[in-house]
């Protein structure tokens, strides 16, 4: 099976998020970026399928947010081909609609059987890349996927997550796009030494894709952090002092039996 995986770098939520001077967009000039978590799972799911059923894994990413490190890490984990789509604005990521059109253009010529993309990215506001891409390609789509198995050469068995740890199993005809929430096992760890080795041995192919004009249908008037929490009463002091206070609270409320 020929599998393509789309990965993205997104702002690291551990770091403070800054808004630019317009008040309507993120200031990404000094942002730290990380691999989008569900894209990491999409890569893992692709590697698991390859290990089980053979085939190849191509990883694609638009060149935004210092993505090279994650591309080399993908190569170190077992991706066969790495492809970077050129993007020339370091301060603005492509919209899901723009990105989907760019990836679709490349994927049409690559001709994969299956495209895996993380189902969500934390900074998505007005579109979902995986679903947009499926519509651009005209391929079937299932999102919120937590497991994929090959049924035969023509189709896959796909588990979609529902509340209460319940899954719905679907048979999906190939070619298809899946929006991955979680792989069947946690993304594999790859030592830094192997990533360094991949940096020396891996050729990241670069490709130009036509950048479609941005047609924003959703106008952002203001982007801002929520007002500070008011509900929680903050308990302060040393760990022992806080622990004693919590224990007293639990006793007071009859929760220690």
């Amino acid at each position: 099976m020929k599998i393509a995986v789309v990965i993205r770098h997104v702002p690291d939520l551990i770091e403070p998020l800054e808004v630019d001077s317009t008040g309507k967009a993120f200031d990404l000039s000094s942002a730290a970026f990380v691999l989008n978590e569900s894209d990491d799972h999409a890569l893992e799911q692709a590697l698991l399928l390859k290990e089980k059923h053979g085939g190849s894994v191509t990883v694609l990413s638009i060149d935004f947010g210092d993505v090279d490190n994650s591309l080399y890490a993908a190569a170190a984990k077992g991706a066969d081909q790495i492809l970077k789509l050129l993007w020339d604005d370091p301060n603005r990521s492509p919209s899901p609609q723009q990105a989907a059109r760019m990836y679709a253009e490349v994927l049409r010529s690559q001709g994969p059987d299956l495209v895996l993309v993380g189902v969500q990215a934390p900074d998505e506001l007005d579109g979902v890349l995986s679903a947009e891409l499926a519509v651009c390609l005209g391929w079937p789509y299932v999102g919120v996927v937590r497991g994929v198995q090959a049924a035969d050469g023509q189709s896959l068995l796909v588990c979609k997550e529902f509340p209460g740890a319940v899954m719905a199993q679907y048979e999906v005809r190939l070619p298809a796009v899946l929006g991955i929430l979680g792989a069947e096992q946690p993304p594999r760890y790859v030592p830094v030494s192997r990533i360094r080795a991949a940096m020396k041995s891996t050729q990241i192919a670069e490709q130009e894709a036509a950048v479609p004009a941005e047609a924003a249908r959703v106008e952002v008037d203001q982007l801002y952090p929520p007002a500070p929490a008011e509900r929680a009463e903050m308990l302060t002091g040393s760990p022992e002092q806080v622990a004693n206070r919590i224990a007293a609270l639990l006793e007071e409320k009859g929760l220690l039996r």
């Binding site: 799972h41 007005d126 679903a131 789509y141 529902f162 249908r217 760990p239 639990l250």
Partner: protein, 328 residues
């Protein structure tokens, strides 16, 4: 039909009207009052009649019955919903931020070339424009947005709107499914079966005390002292999504949108940031105590008590303090 109507997708996974539909109807009523339009509820099913009683807060219930709609499948439901939208031309379509919503809303937007907003917490219509406040970046940012085009597709976060009250006067109207709707087995995405969680694990929905762990736990080995704390409190350990994704706890312990909804007497949230998807599953707890190193963590918005501290610095002294209280 009217371009001022507000359409709600009434999803019914596993034959049950989804809990968020009442909230969607509440949001839709507010918007329809502003436009002077009606609230429409679309039920896509093999037989929509059992769901009609739960949708009486709508003005009109549009029922699309077809054997292919017996179980949810993205393509089939999208085709049926598109038929309803084309016939009704609503001003806005409200979809829950659910497993089904995460398929249908973005696919619909892409197919119709229509505006979509995710994580919608507030919505209104002013001067003919839909205005919404949306949560993004795990609840760490909000965006106020404006939409001119119709239909505006809003994916609504659970817990954001007051459920609508029933009028009992909703008109039920059958809607013809698309003539070319494939048979269930003929679809490119065909439902096969429901897979239920294996029995035998702790039922976290039945616990009075839950000690919940999130990304702040950092390594699996740290679960052991937390399990001891939970045992001491007579409760169980549960988790947010990243811990389950890591395989450190089974999916039956996951709290949140795609996990369990819990309402214990005590919810001790350790190292959980409080993304909306998690909060959705635990905000109904009686007492919430949250421990997080980030003073801006959204979990402190729903907690009764908060502690800004590394959870692993607190677990041992807390275990000792509770042990001391229990032995005196």
């Amino acid at each position: 039909m009217s371009a001022s109507d507000i359409l709600v997708l009434a999803e019914t996974p596993r034959g049950v009207l989804s809990g968020i539909v009442a909230e969607l109807l509440g949001a839709a009523r507010r918007l329809a009052d502003a436009t002077g339009g009606h609230v429409l509820a679309a039920v896509l099913s093999a037989d929509g009649s059992p769901f009609v009683s739960g949708l009486q807060a709508a003005d009109r219930i549009l029922v699309v019955n077809h054997p292919s709609l017996a179980e949810y499948s993205p393509e089939l439901f999208l085709a049926a919903l598109q038929a309803v939208i084309q016939a009704e031309t609503p001003r806005a379509v409200l979809v829950g931020s659910t497993s089904i919503g995460w398929d249908v809303a973005p696919l619909l937007a892409a197919r119709l070339n229509a505006p979509l907003v995710l994580g919608c917490q507030q919505a209104s219509i002013e001067d003919g424009q839909v205005r919404a406040t949306c949560s993004l970046c795990g609840g760490k940012m909000l965006a106020n947005v404006r939409i001119q085009e119709a239909p505006a597709i809003l994916m609504i976060l659970p817990g954001s709107f007051t459920p609508a009250t029933s009028t009992g006067k909703a008109q039920v109207e059958p809607v013809s499914p698309p003539a070319d709707l494939p048979a269930p087995d003929g679809a490119r995405v065909a439902f096969r079966q429901w897979i239920l969680p294996p029995p035998g694990d702790v039922d976290i929905t039945a616990q009075t005390v839950l000690v919940a762990v999130g990304r702040g736990i950092q390594q699996k080995e740290n679960l052991e002292p937390i399990q001891q704390l939970a045992d001491l409190l007579g409760g169980a350990v549960c988790a947010s999504r990243p811990i389950v994704d890591q395989g450190w706890l089974p999916t039956t312990r996951q709290v949140g949108k795609s996990g369990m909804t819990v309402k214990p007497k005590l919810y001790l949230a350790l190292g959980i940031s409080g993304a909306p998807e998690h909060v959705e599953g635990m905000s109904g707890s009686d007492l919430i105590i949250a421990v997080n190193t980030d003073p801006k963590a959204p979990i402190f918005d729903v907690a009764d008590y908060g502690v800004q501290m590394d959870l692993m610095d607190l677990v041992e002294p807390l275990t000792q303090a509770i042990q001391a209280k229990k032995t005196t």
